[in-house]
Subunit: 170 residues, 2 copies
DNA sequence: GGCTTATCGTTGCCCTAAGCAACGATCACG
DNA sequence: CGTGATCGTTGCTTAGGGCAACGATAAGCC
């Protein structure tokens, strides 16, 4: 149990971190409106998935995800394949072009971060990632989020199958 | 110097943390549109200050700060005192009513955080705060960016859906 | 088989946050 | 005392995000 005084500070820092995110968004190419990078990254890391699963990863509304995906599809970076077992669903798949774009985005963020975080140790970055990740988990089911994590045994789980994690770039 | 692979993950977590912030904003009273809490807290912690200083703390544009402050002034939670040594400036001062409101906000966030972070140790929260704070510091002088300066990346839009965002070239 | 209900994704509409630019007012300095 | 810099406010614009309604499909039930 953490001290209450900390919570105040935590909330403030949470807001401040938004500025960092905006800074990162600023160096993105104009046709990559922010969230795009997150979408591509998630598809790259976790492989093909459905809209609902992606929305869950992004922790935003399905409508938002839908628009982001439409944007990316229009540019040929991901494709919406029909799901053979459920014609309502669409399977999101990262295209080679999308991987290229992701590479570009990755290069941009890496450049900026390497510059800004030059005096951070590997361990510190890792800790920050870990703690933020944990924070998000702790807030997981805070609201009526679409797509309860129910994975029926007979449903072919698409996650992490079609495409292997692919840490191709580095 | 941190490993590059981490940067990708860091960016993603940075986005995800936005969801936590939104969750926190959701439990605020309707007349406290998000940033208000941050403003009140900063004034409470750091004492009276000028607009520019506040904007710096919030890491947002002066115009944004100005509107937030106007909102809070209208509700009597802070006041804009004239600066005796510079008639252009205005000194922001937290009123007793503002302190009350801050107390309320504080109670709300504390309640939610205590609930969500019940299994966090005092030390972990402290570390997260410290690391986020440090992150922000590392990004300190990123502000005066005149918008999209880089943009060699443009991709032809492929029509697939009925909607055509197509803001590719402007 | 048909009927009803639940689920998946898309879209329309709205709100808020944030930035840029222009402006009025004031300082600072020649 | 005029010229330029600085502080803050306001108008305009954009992007991100949510809610609700909808069409299409799946799953249950009679």
């Amino acid at each position: 149990m953490a001290g209450q005084a900390q919570y105040e500070e935590l909330v403030r820092q949470l807001s401040a971190v938004g500025a960092v995110r905006r800074d990162l968004a600023r160096i993105m190419p104009p046709d990559c409106p922010a969230g795009s990078g997150a979408v591509l990254t998630i598809l790259d890391v976790h492989g093909d998935m459905h809209m609902s699963k992606l929305a869950e990863h992004l922790a935003v509304d399905l409508s938002v995800t839908s628009r982001q995906v439409a944007h990316l599809v229009a540019r040929g970076w991901i494709e919406r394949l029909p799901d053979p077992v459920d014609k309502r669903s669409r399977i999101l798949h990262l295209t080679p072009a999308g991987l290229d774009r992701l590479d570009d985005l990755f290069r941009r963020t890496t450049q900026l971060l390497a510059e800004r975080l030059s005096d951070w140790s590997d361990d510190e970055v890792g800790q920050l990632i870990h703690l933020m990740s944990r924070l998000r988990e702790s807030f997981g089911d805070c609201r009526p989020h679409p797509g309860r994590v129910h994975a029926p045994a007979d449903t072919p789980v698409i996650e992490e199958t079609t495409r292997t994690p692919a840490n191709a770039h580095t």
